[in-house]
Homo-oligomer: 851 residues x 2
Amino acid sequence: MPHRANFSNLTLITPTAKMSADVHGGRAKCLQRLVRLDMPVPTTVSLDFKSVQSIASGTMPDMDVLIEPFGGAPLLSVRPSSEDPDWGGPGAILNIGMNNTKLVELSKEVGERAATALYLRFIQAFAVHVARLDPDEFDVPSEPTAQALEAALSAYEADAEEPFPQDPIRQLTEVLRSMARAWEGTTARLLRQAKGAPADAGLGLVVQAMALGVGASESGSGVIQYVDETTGETQIKGRYLSQSQGREALSLDAPAIYLTRDERGASLEELCPDIFAELLRFGDVSRLRLREEMQIEFTIESNSLRILDAVRLQRSSRAGVKIAVALADDGVIPREEALMRVEPVALNELLHRQVAPQAVRDVFGQGIAASPGAARGRIVFTANEAQASAARKEACILVRRETTPEDIRGMHAAQAVVTVRGGITSHAAVIGRGMGLPCVVGASDLVVDARKRQLVSPDGRVLVEGDMLTVDGTSGQLLVGEPPLREASLDGSFQTLLSWADDVRDIGVRANADTPSDAQTARNFAAQGIGLCRTEHMFFDDDRLTVMREMIFADDAEDRRTTLDRLLPMQRADFIELFEIMAGQPVCLRLFDPPLHEFLPSDRAGLRDLAEALDRPLSDVTERVGELREYNPMLGMRGVRLGVSIPEIYEMQARAIFEATVALAERGVIVRPEIMIPLVSARREVELVKTQIDALAAEVQTKSGQTFDYNLGVMVETPRAALRAGDIAEHATFLSFGTNDLTQMTYGLSRDDAGRFMSDYVRQGVYPEDPFHSFDVEGVGELVSIGANRGRSQRNDVVLSICGEHAGTTDAIAFARANRFDYVSCSPFRVPVARLSAARLVVAEKLSPRR
Amino acid sequence: MPHRANFSNLTLITPTAKMSADVHGGRAKCLQRLVRLDMPVPTTVSLDFKSVQSIASGTMPDMDVLIEPFGGAPLLSVRPSSEDPDWGGPGAILNIGMNNTKLVELSKEVGERAATALYLRFIQAFAVHVARLDPDEFDVPSEPTAQALEAALSAYEADAEEPFPQDPIRQLTEVLRSMARAWEGTTARLLRQAKGAPADAGLGLVVQAMALGVGASESGSGVIQYVDETTGETQIKGRYLSQSQGREALSLDAPAIYLTRDERGASLEELCPDIFAELLRFGDVSRLRLREEMQIEFTIESNSLRILDAVRLQRSSRAGVKIAVALADDGVIPREEALMRVEPVALNELLHRQVAPQAVRDVFGQGIAASPGAARGRIVFTANEAQASAARKEACILVRRETTPEDIRGMHAAQAVVTVRGGITSHAAVIGRGMGLPCVVGASDLVVDARKRQLVSPDGRVLVEGDMLTVDGTSGQLLVGEPPLREASLDGSFQTLLSWADDVRDIGVRANADTPSDAQTARNFAAQGIGLCRTEHMFFDDDRLTVMREMIFADDAEDRRTTLDRLLPMQRADFIELFEIMAGQPVCLRLFDPPLHEFLPSDRAGLRDLAEALDRPLSDVTERVGELREYNPMLGMRGVRLGVSIPEIYEMQARAIFEATVALAERGVIVRPEIMIPLVSARREVELVKTQIDALAAEVQTKSGQTFDYNLGVMVETPRAALRAGDIAEHATFLSFGTNDLTQMTYGLSRDDAGRFMSDYVRQGVYPEDPFHSFDVEGVGELVSIGANRGRSQRNDVVLSICGEHAGTTDAIAFARANRFDYVSCSPFRVPVARLSAARLVVAEKLSPRR
């Protein structure tokens, strides 16, 4: 027998008792709030974390003290009360105190059948959850007869090797001990830690007098809520079941009734209009005073209402936004609190179409969730097929082993993209996110057989070209067929919440946008300009690609220049369109970056076509393409290295930028273009390009007679550029930290190759998280802050920003704020997330300034 | 007319005059030293740098003061006197003062013919070098007749539009001005800056009374030296020509005589025994007092000796070492000074066979001098052909577009390697240097046509398989045919000098050695252990390669382990052999590093062979090989990432290391192996591998009953490892900075791809030097010192070193010393260079402690 100690961590819940959620748990605290609101809560005693911990290690509280508030021989329930309700806890045990004597007493009050049913349910719960007997032996019988009861008691005695305990104190003791110990179990611990609970998270328990819900006059139990949990719209919802306890009204096969009067049949509103009115009043009161939309558990005990419990309503992301905005609009909570109530990532669900929550999922395969949202279409295996499909107005899903820049137009034509290789920052993933296209990458268990035009799952199922596939880019699942989807919902609440975020935040948010359509999305999401336009993405259109290839094959600078002259009007038109869309907001144009071989075909057929197009022998073309191939293209002849070695490319681009600027000026729109040099590793690279660009600007100004301003800056994406940022800032008015490449180089890790082992690495805790997904503050971050500090000490008004995949994450925004950066720039579809994250950081800092 | 100023930068050279080389130049200072040694130097006046600078800008010194020391109407010479004689300067002008009057006088003394000859020579020199007239008009006539003289004077007058100047003062003025201005010319400036002169290097001039060398009794001029300039052996060498001036005795078609009596014919020793004896005495005196081997220019004027000039003997690297050691051995200079007199890179010439200096070079092509030394053989285009050639005992040169690990055995079989692609740290270059194999890479002007088996030069010359080629890895030239070579010469002086270096230096020097033969070379060069053994190089032998491939294709860990078990005895034998050769010196073994696909064939034939060997369908093999291919292998699945993902490989290696340690211990040799983990980017990687290796060590110790110690350390080669070196040092007893990869990642630059633009980049000054060749102190260096400091503050006895290509360079050694590193580790053939460099840094610091 455990010995009993005399301690006082038992609190009778009264309006004035000293209680808090981090000592007694959320449920206990919430019950006190209900008591304070004068709700008819049955007598409840709270056991705090410390006392439950003592129970788990064998020290029981003084049971006489514990049961004293409940008066003589009552029935009790025990419920868990963890600090955060989401962390779970053991299931509630009802009807403690039920025994042979009580059965007789209760039979008189509520009838033998109801009393026997209660007893049977208690025996079952006690046997399974407290005495840990075989659940199969303790099914609750369909009919609560005396025989069934006798059988249950015998079964208990046979299994437990002792009779079913009759002493209510002993029953309660065992229940408390069993619940306390369950909290310490490994599974429970892992489960709650997965939900973010700390290792030492405590459990409280609440012991409450039972409101029976069974009896002669109207008795029963039910659950009520005041808004729809999916849409967030105001709506009374819930169920009520006569002669029931707990949440029985919610079970699917229960003959429960609705609460409001409508065409669906009987309702509580009709059955007990006064009680229904009281519940509505409690809804208003709790929303106002608890400052939250609650779900309330109630019992009617012989025509009178008891409130047993109230929990924060579980809700969809969409409902979450609507509720938070409504509470703030109604003055229940301040706007800043509304911001804190919506997790930024939850916005993703609103921004994209999703697989409906109730959909049945026939999972064909699983990959990395690289770009959120769901889409469906017929499978195609090549970019050409995708374009053909789009031309037929048929939705398609592009499935590739991996994508390359040649696939971009196919991606534009597809509803979603799936790749077997690659990680969270592979080509497909980056482009997919940029376009808001659902994308699953690194589905490495699948085999793509492009020749047979089929996709084989790990368990041997085969999908062929033309089969219907649904891609869930939010979960990374590939689903067979057409499960129902839920549309995106950028409603008024969403816009309102983000406008409040903009009022609060203290760091700029721009978008990475390469095309006019990206730019339009950026504008729609209220990005404060374009932080990164990868101008080379404009070169992959068929007509331009041909010119690019001719340029690559040109014999000398003069030849190259002549060829590039044909691209000039196209680039100028690109920039004019971008500038027009952005309507005077800043646009940062990164000069040509990728290695030239990205523009060349690699397969035999492509090489033959190219040889024909260029009217050169195939062997020449093959030779030249072979020469351009690189061991490590990431670290090769690209970025400013191309700019320095083949200056004609930057010359054409700069001319296009300046001529576009002049064209806008002539229409009265003043643009101050920002020109960014990629892959810098030494100051002299910047000097050389700056000299060239300044000369071109002067030339265009002279020729046009228009003057304009422009800013020249550097993309800091090599560790050396970060270390030498002081030197570099001599010639750069802004430094934009490209954390994708910087992460690759700092780790010595190619994002395109990391997919193969990254999940292993994260699972084994080698890296706490995928550094391409989650900003590495202590490694890459140190280089960024070294760079920022050195840049600023050279030029105190240097504009600092982070662009790249990380820029939209809370970690990166927090880092950027801490380092006094001017803005972050992320994919257009992350802009809302970033705006909210940035605002929340400001609010969080106000709330606990020391963090 | 230039106006004359009164200034006093004219110094009559006397034993007590205040003179120094950085004011008056090296020649003037040396002449003063000769005067102090009582040598018969004709009267000489020195014009210092400042005065020559004034002359160049138009201000002449007081000519009366200048010529006063020479008495009435003498003939004079003017010679340049730059601070360092190597910086060059305008040619000497002799016989100034010669005119019609002097001709008459001199004809009486030395005969009309000799006097006319002198006059003619002066007119020619003055016309061409001072008056800058057309040289073709002023050939010195074969016979000095009065007609010839008249013709020369007329030609002068016609060309210069004035008569030949008769005034000796005017002559001297013009000579001085012309020489002063020549120094300021662009060509001269560029030439001397290429030799290391600073932008403001000054020129002094010396004006000397002529010792005529022509006359009635024995007169003439000659040059004498006391050691052989190629071997450094003591030997009187030189030539003497009667009735001559200056260095005429050295011209090839001059009828000059030798100095010493031997079978070669007439000699100065016989002709003028007293003068010869005096010259020998001057040799002894100058060696002792000038502390250097000199070459002396002398004139015999009517049987008496005049010493006109003495210069430091120009010498080969080999002679340089011998002379420095001999001077120190004879107590003429201290040993430390001997160390300072030998440039470390000069040792390369001694370590390798070279193309003989006098060889006629028929240059076929030029590439990057990647591994020094010369070799010749017949051209082969594949590794297999190289091996076949070696089997026939036929010397061959392996010519490849680029080399891969598959070519290693072919490289071993070849005398030298040439590649068309790649830079100073390409595969061929690194392996070549490691093996001491002459190597030229990046010969990008050449076209290799492997199918036609021919090599085409830029000017269209063709060499085919089997043609003889000589590779000069010291200059980067490819020479047609078989020019004579000079053997390597590691004589006693070389060993002595390095032993003195070892006495002085304060940082360890180890070698990077992958094979027993490398290790033996390392021992021969007195390396203090192996700092980097790339253990994977042992896996490329045919039998092991097969096993490796089976391992790669294994289905699961058990399969892999079984396959690796077959490699275990081979690896153990490798390590036993290494440990034996190193005889207890430390050996640092880097665990397996390269990506697995390096072990797989890439061409169709190889794939077919592999499919056969593995008894699998070709499609399977092709698929798997394709899957393993990486976008950026440098940044991919290699190093510790393989170690963590496929732990069986490191397990086998660690077991082999420990079992080898036990085997040595059983023979009484105590080895404390150092195990190094490559490509670390996070502490947890080290923890995981350490746990595994510690467990294996315990297991081997238990099984064998032998105990042993070992050190586990980390190769710091990612920027992140440098930044997180504090964390990492918690589990690492040593940190070895791999500057090759660290440079690649810091710059974001693949060494294999950089060759394409690096020479452009260096030419344009974008990078001051190729960072793979020359250690980048301000970028990469900062990361290394951050890493060193953090590692040390975590663990104050952490052993710090630099390994990789830079480690043998003076810059890197200086950096390593400044950061208190324990040792550097470089290719075996760079060990002597590193030992000397390290010692010289210590001496230099003593000499100027503030540097």
